[in-house]
């Protein structure tokens, strides 16, 4: 837990502070210093154009996190709206909406993402949209289940018999109670979205190369890897794993706080 907090804090600080503080341009090409192995002056070594890999990784993480957070927020808004509507209205609306959710869920995420990106051409927005459109389903299910269980609570009955409108009950009473769950789902979605973006970028269907995300870095490093240089591949991958574990650790602690009964559930 403490480790997770320290790691997430460190990641946020590095991503926010390093770019303005470092004078050196990350894109500065120095062919004299290409493919240097890790050393004191270049802790992660340099890539095939002599750029410092530690800086490239921090910038890459910045891009990946940006895409991840944007996509996760969009997906959470869609999922919460859909799930809350289905749960609050019930009846045929609920059945219809959940059938749509099941249908979209039966297309593998990455494949649907690839299809959307292929049709709209790779770029920042198609990637964010494709990740968001494939990730709102679980949030919709969670929020719907939560709303359904809340509906039978006495305070909702009290509000209804007190003359509150449907809309007021939904916005003032149901939504605040659902938010902790939605926030948890959003936090857990960030690493998922990052992973998704890096897979798309790795396949050459993601972000353009001038917006190097971690997936782009791994793709760029393929040539060097085949020549035997492992460091341009290894470090960007670690930059995906460590934030994922740190966010999962934090989200796990948050989940134990909001529903202590489900402690033993797996965090995947």
């Amino acid at each position: 837990m403490r480790v997770s907090v320290a790691l997430v804090g460190g990641i946020v600080l590095a991503v926010l502070l390093v770019p303005p503080l470092v004078q050196l341009d990350q894109q500065a090409v120095d062919l004299g210093a290409k493919l240097l192995p890790p050393s004191w002056s270049h802790p992660f070594g340099t890539d095939d154009l002599g750029r410092d890999l530690l800086l490239r990784c921090i910038y890459g993480l910045r891009v990946s996190l940006l895409v991840g957070v944007a996509a996760a927020l969009t997906a959470t808004v869609i999922g919460t709206a859909v799930g809350a509507t289905a749960g609050a209205l019930g009846g045929w609306v609920d059945r219809g909406v959940m059938r749509v959710v099941d249908t979209v869920a039966s297309v593998p995420h990455l494949l649907l993402g690839i299809f959307i990106v292929a049709m709209f051409r790779p770029g920042l927005w198609p990637v964010v949209v494709s990740v968001a459109l494939t990730h709102w389903l679980s949030t919709a299910r969670i929020v719907r289940a939560e709303v359904l269980s809340l509906r039978s609570h006495p305070y909702i009955d009290a509000a209804v018999s007190g003359g509150a409108s449907r809309w007021r009950v939904a916005v003032r009473h149901l939504l605040p109670a659902v938010l902790p769950q939605a926030a948890l789902a959003a936090a857990l979605m960030v690493p998922h979205a990052m992973w998704h973006e890096s897979a798309l970028s790795f396949l050459g269907l993601g972000l353009p190369t001038h917006m190097a995300s971690l997936g782009n870095l791994i793709q760029d490093a393929r040539g060097s890897l085949l020549a035997g240089q492992w460091w341009p591949t290894l470090f960007p991958g670690l930059f995906i794993i460590v934030p994922t574990l740190a966010i999962a650790g934090l989200a796990g602690a948050w989940r134990e706080r909001i529903n202590p009964r489900r402690r033993s559930e797996l965090m995947l």
């Binding site: 690839i114 299809f115 085949l226 995906i240 995947l268």
Partner: protein
Amino acid sequence: MARLAGRRLLFAAPVLLVVTFGVFAIAAASPFDPVKAYAGTAALGADTETLERLRENLGVDQPFTSRWWHWLTSALGGDLGQSSVMRQPVSQVIGERLVWSSLLCAVAFVVAVLTGTVLGVLAARRPGSVVDRVVTSLAYSLEAAPVFWLALLAVWLFALQLGVLPAGGLTDTASERVTPSQVASHLVLPAGVLAVSQLPWFTLYVRQGVGDALAEDPVRGARARGLSERTVLLGHALRSGLLPVLTLVGSRVPELITGALLVESVFSWPGIAAATVEAATAVDFPLLAALTTLATAAVLVGNLFADLLYGLFDPRVKFSDM
């Protein structure tokens, strides 16, 4: 059981219909132009009249709903259209490649399930022990690792540094025929990496299931009767602990397809998933549409499989109730 399978298949049909319809709707909403994709660079110099005639010939002047209907009716007859990037009929592309993808996925899945069970049981045996902590933290780290990154590192280690396994492809470049031994040696790395990427999920669920079962009454009873630890663990705890996991196996098909997609493209494995990436890069709509439908069908079959397993292994479930 046959009735359940039949009913699930009836439910699957509308899902496939909606998915194919959605695929056509997304394509219609996108800036993608089938005429320009068909004509390529020739479209740049052509006048509007020629392009219009081409548009009419290809049938793309009609609304996407009628194009979807046309595609659907010919797909049911086995004609999935022509792939522009592979320069052969889509059905032929799928037919040639499906076998290699199935081989890769099947081998990887069996390896992942077997290894995952062993590791999960080892970890569950003594919660909090060194073995448990090592297995659990390894599993979480591997779950967080991108599969294409693992694949690249595996190529570096096994093909470049140690030189023991080929780095990719189906056969050696010098070889003209596809022989079983060649395929086997080329299969080790991709299948191994795919198995490792599916392993953490399985290990953690087996650990959870067996761990929970070890704390329950039947196990306490078995211990009280003086049965050996081995019988208690494998005969009682594993049997009831594996049950919830088995039913989830079928629902892992999407992750398996995702993993195969990335692994195949790293190892140049001539499977169907690698074709998806090529189709997407070249915006080959007929191929992409067919592959998306195929993957959805695979997921639906996986779900059906999960339901059937659930009924087979849990005597409390009656098929008539499902």
